[in-house]
Symmetry: C2
Subunit: 301 residues, 2 copies
């Protein structure tokens, strides 16, 4: 038996250690970043909102016009088998559809490629370390770069086009900030590397609708906020308005709700996590345990 | 001895068959499309304009703030060893710098990653089949998608962010066209998947300066045109002006100068390759043989 405690992958029907999982250097998934993917969290031995993540993933695969030779149930079975074999109780679980290699020498036609599915899982990833998230994180608004517009690459098809995020991250780190958020070309707040962004104004929370991933955790935040009696507005969030927020927080499948205490030189909620962000952060970990959202990972045979 | 006639790769100092060359699924080169690359042609046993391709590649690596642990001469040596071992006399030779894996569990900091270099070569690639290029190709102006703007991802750092190109290619194929060209958000002609675009007006050729790769073949076309006594204007090329061109052609390291006889429903130069495009196409294959641009591939020891 291989050691899968650092992570496992499902590739072509085989379950292998994550360290052995690789993609050919000529796969268009790599050379054209021609991939749709999704990441579902496993928490306390169960997938969270698995159907919602799968809905989005299957929509991405269809939008990319890929035929991976597996249906939704095949994919579910692969995820169970892989996570079950890994023994991980809390995991970051990636499902990936790649354009694949083009078997016709010289063909530049994406329709000729051998599309394929693979998956991998590693121990649960927090996009911001919990000890930082608990006391509130810092965010840098990228100055040198704008979010790739939705009419260039559709951000609702979860993808690996991260060049804009990476540029923003270097800026953030250079300036001593934990992470970055990007504006669109009209000066609206969009999203950051791995998260959506929320702002609180009184009893109303706002988040972007266009030019961003419609995160499942974003959706969970909307539902949690409504259950708490908050109003939720989904629409353009100009950065000029953003600066006036009472609280700012991030949402991610990698850590839930992450309070923000500082954006550039502006401190929010007196430099401590805001009360609403704190409530929603605790709510998220409670929701992870709600039976109606849990799909326990099947035990390996 | 492995069979390297279908292609070879240089990875970590080893030369292996192209079919065995792969990247870990967790390499940020894949998961963040965090890669700078370049492609130098080998023609008749020699690299063409190797120094120019290396200049651009080294500039890309620096712009991406990667340290691959190899200097320019190390990279040259790797390319010679790989192509020499393959025995290929005409080849597409890719050199790649990847962000690499992040060895620190949970780190989201690009500065922590183990950057690395690899290379691969396959038999020479024509982005448009020569028999089609010789009689002129067809190009579809993408309608659903605009080129990723330069303030989102820098197109002068040759990269794998091809989502916009792939969308355009599907549109082109759906409409029965060979390839696609993309406009920017201001309605200017930019580039297509693997090529720059030129338009001829009288004795003047035009090509875009901003929002495009500064192709080495584009540069060769500029120099060939000047040697032929043509004027060259480098600057914005609005699509409205583009429709009035006398001739249209593409430039690519994968095939040189490619005449275009049709863009959407507009036929150029009476549906045959234009005389200037034909002259430059022949010139390019002559220039490939000019001793001052050739670096013969070293024989393997």
């Amino acid at each position: 038996m291989s050691d899968l405690s650092n992570g496992a992958a499902w590739m072509g029907g085989r379950i292998i250690p994550i360290s052995e999982a690789s993609l050919p250097v000529t796969d268009w998934g790599l050379t054209h970043s021609d991939i749709g993917y999704d990441v579902v969290p496993v928490w306390n031995g169960a997938f969270f909102r698995l159907d919602d993540y799968l809905d989005r993933f299957m929509a991405s695969v269809a939008a990319l016009r890929m035929q991976v030779g597996m249906d939704r149930q095949d994919i579910v079975n692969a995820l169970h088998a892989m996570v079950g074999a890994s023994g991980l109780q809390a995991a970051y679980v990636a499902m990936v559809a790649a354009r694949g290699r083009n078997p016709i020498p010289g063909s530049r036609d994406p329709r000729d490629c051998d599309n394929h599915f693979y998956a991998w899982c590693v121990p649960y990833v927090h996009i911001v370390k919990p000890e930082i998230a608990n006391r509130g994180t810092s965010v840098w608004v990228a100055k040198s770069v704008r979010r790739i517009p939705k009419d260039s690459v559709n951000p609702r098809v979860k993808n690996y086009h991260w060049g804009d995020f990476t540029s923003g991250l270097f800026e953030a780190k250079d300036n001593g900030f934990e992470t970055t958020l990007l504006l669109d070309h009209d000066g609206n707040v969009t999203e950051g590397p791995g998260f959506n962004v929320f702002a609180l104004f009184g009893d109303r929370i706002m988040t972007a609708d266009q030019g961003v991933l419609h995160g499942i955790t974003r959706q969970t935040v909307i539902e949690m906020a409504q259950e708490r009696g908050l109003r939720v507005d989904v629409g353009p969030l100009p950065v000029s308005a953003f600066w006036q927020a009472d609280e700012v927080f991030l949402s991610s499948s990698g850590g839930g709700v992450i309070p923000v205490t500082r954006v550039d030189d502006r401190h929010f909620s007196n430099g401590a996590p805001g009360p609403v962000a704190q409530v929603l952060r605790r709510d998220y970990f409670d929701w992870l345990e709600r039976p109606e959202y849990r799909t326990p990972v099947r035990s390996p045979r």
